[in-house]
Amino acid sequence: MPDIELRNIRKEFNDGKIIALNDIDLKINDGDFAFLLGPSGCGKTTMLRTISGLIQPTVGSVFIDGNDVTERPPQERGIAFVFQDFNIFPLSVFENATYALKVQGYTQEYIIQEGERVLNIVGLADRADEVPVGWGNGDLQRLGLARAICSGAKILIMDEPLGSLDPKISAEFRWELRNIIKDQGLTAIQVTHNQEEAMAIGDYIIIMRDGNILQQDTAKVLYRYPNSLFVGNFLGGINILEGYIRKVHPEDYYDVKVRLGGPTFVIHSPTTKFHLDENVIIALRSEDVYLFPLEYDYENSRADWTGIVLSEGMVTEKFLTGKEKRYIVELDNGDSLSVAKPEVFQYEFLCNQEIKIGLFNEDLRLFKYPDNLAKEMDLQ
C-alpha cells in the first residue's frame, strides 16, 4: 500500500547557505489526507518537490510503499502532482486528462474508458472536446485534478491547488476535493496558505517553519494544544499576556501572575516544565474570552458558567468580520485582548462600554518566553 516515508531528509540551496529542509523525518500512512502548513519560505514546497522527485535531497532517503525511490525520476514514483497554476497543457480537455495514460502506452480503449470515468468524477464530461482557453480557475483546477487522478497514481501531491481561486469558489471546491480524494482512496498531501482550509478538510496537519516540522497532529489538537506559541498563533490569532511563575504546584500546575498588576491564574502544563520566577507567555484564543455586562450576576444567573471572572475592562474597538463580531477590550492593567463572538451572541456591547471579562483556566496555555517575541508572533 502506498505510504510515504521521509528519512533524515536534508535539502540545501546555494552551497549550504540556505537550508530548506533540516533533517526531516516524516511518515504519511496509506489513505491519509495530510496538510503542510507554514509561513512562506518554511520549506513546504521543497518538501513536496522532494517527495515527488522534481528535486533531489542533499541527504536522506524517500520511501514510497516501502521502496527507496530517492534515485528514481518523478515519472517512476507513482505520484501525481496538482499545481497551483494548473499547468494545463495546450491540448483538449480529454487529451489533458488522459495524458498520463497516453505517454505510458495504455491501449486506446482503456484510455477512452478511463478518461470518461475521471471526467465524470470531476464534472467535466460534457466539455471533453473543448480546449480550456479562457476557463475560470475553478474549472481549470478540476481538470488538473482529473489529469492527476487519471494517471492511476495512488498518491496525490497538491501545491496550493485552491490558491488561485476566488475565495468563494475555493471554499466550495474544497469539500468536493476532499470527497473525490476519499472516494478514490488516494493518499494525499496538500500545501496551503489557508489555515481554515487545512483544518476543514485535512485528516491532520503538519506545521513547518524554517525547514523544520514543528508539530504534526489533527486540527483539533493543534488548535487546542499547540506545542509552541508559533503554532498556536499560526492557526488563528491568539491573545498573549506576559507573566511569571509565582508558585509551582505538584502534577504540573502552576500559579502564573500576569505582569503589571494583572491577575493570577492556575494553569496546567503537562508537557513543558517551568521553574519558579520564570518568565512565561500566557496564550488565550480570542473566542475563549467571555464578556458580560457590568451588572451581570455571573454566580447566580447561569448554571453552566464555571469559569472565572478576570477583571473589569472596557471595549475600545468593535467590528464585524463576516462570521463574528470582534471586540478589542482593554484590561485594568493596560493589556488588551481581542475577543471574537458569534453574531448570534446574546449581548451587544458598544465602544467605550465598561464590561466584565471572564475565562476558563483550562483554556489558558503556557509557553516559555521566546528569545524574540516579535519574531515568534510574526507570521511572515
Binding site: 464534472g123 466550495e172 473566542e287 475563549d288 464585524l320 463576516g322 448570534v344 511572515q380
Partner: protein
C-alpha cells in the same frame, strides 16, 4: 479629503459593457470597500476614478468639480495597485517619493516627508533596497507609502486588492494595520479599498457590492449582512447558506420592534416541507406571498435535547462534523416533521422530507457539547437572523448559488 460623486457612469471596452450606469457618492474621509467576484468590474471602476480609462458616458465629480476629462496626473488619487507596480529601477525611497519629485520642491524636504511615511508603514532603514530585494509584505507597504505620499496626506487613496498575494494569517494583522494607517489622524484621506474577499470587505465603514457591472448594494457592514438587497449579496457575504422555499401564512408586528426604528414584522412561513417557522424582518410581506428565505450556517445554536416542535427548531442526525478551529462545521440530515404532524398524515416516518442543513457552531467551552457523527441534535436559529426574499425561481437560485 475629497468627496467623490459618480453620475450615470457607463464603461465599455471592445464592445463589451463592463460598467452599467453607476451612481455613487463616496463621502469625504470615508473608508469604503468595493467588493465583488473576479470580473465584476471593480478594476474598471477604479480606472475610471483615477482617470486611467475614459468612460463611455457619465460624469465623475471630486468635491463637486467635474474631473471626467482630466488626465490622471491632475487628479488627487493615490493608487496602490494589485501587483504593486513598483518601479523596478528605483529604490524604496525613490519609489515612495516619486510623486513629490513631480513638483518643484526641495530634494531634502521631499526625502524628509517620504521618510516620515516610510516610518508610518514601518519600513524604516529599508530606504536603499530595490523592490525585488523586498519580501511580498514589504513591497505591499512600499506601494502603500508611495500612494500616501502622492496624496500629500489628503485626497483619495485607492487600495486595489491590497492583500491578495499574502498569507491568510498575515492578512488578518495587516488589515487592521492598513486601516490604522489609512484612517490615521495624521492623514486626511478618502479611502476606496477593492477586494474580492467578504471578510476584508467588512473593514469598510460602508461597502459597495458590485456584480456584473452593476452596483447591487451600498451600505454599512450591518446593513449588508442583515439586510441584503438580493440573494447574490446575501450569498456573497456568507460562508455557507441554507435556503428554503415557502408561503407566508401570517404577518404580525414583532414585539422586538423598537419605537425609533422602522417597525419589524414577524412573518410566519410554511415551507414546502410543511415546516413552520417565523422570521423577523423590516420588509413588507402579506399573507399568501411566496417567499425564499435563507439562514446562514453560523446563526444556528445546537442542543442535544430533542425539541423539534418548537418554532425555528430543526431536528436531525449529524452526517458529518468537522473541526475548523473556532467553529465546528456540521452537516445535519434533517427530517422535517410538520408542526401538525400526526401518525395519520400521509407521511410515514421514512417518507418525511429530508434536507441537508449546513451549520456552524462555536467550539468554545460553553457552546460545544461533544457532537458526534450519527447522533441526533436540535438546532435553533433566531428569527431575527432569517433573511426573507420574494420567491426566487429554482434555476435562478441554482445559478446564483452555483449548485451543480
Amino acid at each position: 479629503m475629497t468627496e467623490i460623486r459618480i453620475e450615470n457612469l457607463s464603461f465599455q471596452r471592445d464592445g463589451v459593457e463592463i460598467l452599467d450606469n453607476i451612481n455613487l457618492t463616496i463621502k469625504d474621509g470615508e473608508y469604503i470597500t468595493l467588493v465583488g467576484p473576479t470580473g465584476a468590474g471593480k478594476t474598471s471602476l477604479i480606472g475610471l476614478i483615477t482617470g486611467l480609462y475614459k468612460p463611455s458616458s457619465g460624469k465623475i465629480f471630486f468635491d463637486g468639480i467635474d474631473v471626467t476629462n482630466k488626465p490622471p496626473e491632475d487628479r488627487v488619487c493615490g493608487v496602490m495597485f494589485e501587483s504593486y507596480a513598483l518601479f523596478p529601477h528605483l529604490n524604496v525611497l525613490d519609489n515612495v517619493s516619486y510623486a513629490r519629485h513631480m513638483k518643484e520642491s526641495d530634494h531634502q524636504e521631499t526625502y524628509h516627508i517620504s521618510r516620515e511615511v516610510i516610518d508610518l508603514v514601518r519600513l524604516t532603514d529599508r530606504d536603499a533596497a530595490l523592490p525585488h530585494e523586498c519580501s511580498g509584505g514589504m513591497q505591499q507597504r512600499v506601494a502603500l507609502a508611495r500612494a500616501i505620499v502622492a496624496l500629500e496626506k489628503s485626497g483619495i487613496l485607492i487600495l486595489d486588492e491590497p492583500f491578495k498575494a499574502l498569507d491568510a494569517g498575515l492578512r488578518m494583522n495587516l488589515r487592521r494595520e492598513v486601516k490604522r494607517i489609512a484612517t490615521s489622524p495624521l492623514l486626511n484621506m478618502t479611502t476606496i479599498h477593492v477586494t474580492n474577499n467578504m471578510k476584508e470587505a467588512m473593514m469598510g465603514e460602508r461597502i459597495i457590492v458590485l456584480h456584473q457591472g452593476k452596483i447591487r448594494q451600498i451600505g454599512t457592514p450591518d446593513e449588508i449582512m442583515y439586510d441584503p438587497t438580493d440573494l447574490f449579496v446575501a450569498n456573497f457575504f456568507s460562508t455557507e447558506i441554507n435556503h428554503f422555499s415557502g408561503k407566508v401564512i401570517s404577518v404580525e408586528p414583532s414585539e422586538t420592534s423598537s419605537p425609533d426604528e422602522a417597525p419589524l414584522l414577524k412573518v410566519v412561513i410554511s415551507t414546502e416541507e410543511n415546516y413552520i417557522l417565523y422570521a423577523i424582518t423590516k420588509k413588507i410581506f402579506k399573507e399568501g406571498d411566496e417567499v425564499t428565505f435563507i439562514v446562514r450556517s453560523q446563526y444556528f445554536k445546537a442542543r442535544h435535547k430533542r425539541r423539534e416542535t418548537k418554532t425555528n427548531n430543526i431536528y436531525g442526525k449529524i452526517k458529518r462534523a468537522k473541526f475548523m478551529g473556532a467553529w465546528l462545521r456540521i452537516e445535519l440530515e434533517a427530517k422535517f416533521k410538520p408542526k401538525n404532524w400526526t401518525t395519520e398524515t400521509p407521511h410515514t416516518k421514512h417518507t418525511l422530507p429530508k434536507k441537508t442543513i449546513k451549520i456552524e457552531v462555536p467550539t468554545t467551552r460553553t457552546a460545544i457539547h461533544n457532537f458526534m457523527v450519527g447522533e441526533g441534535i436540535t438546532v435553533y436559529y433566531p428569527g431575527e437572523f432569517v433573511i426573507v426574499f420574494p420567491r426566487i425561481p429554482k434555476e435562478e437560485l441554482n445559478q446564483i448559488l452555483r449548485v451543480k
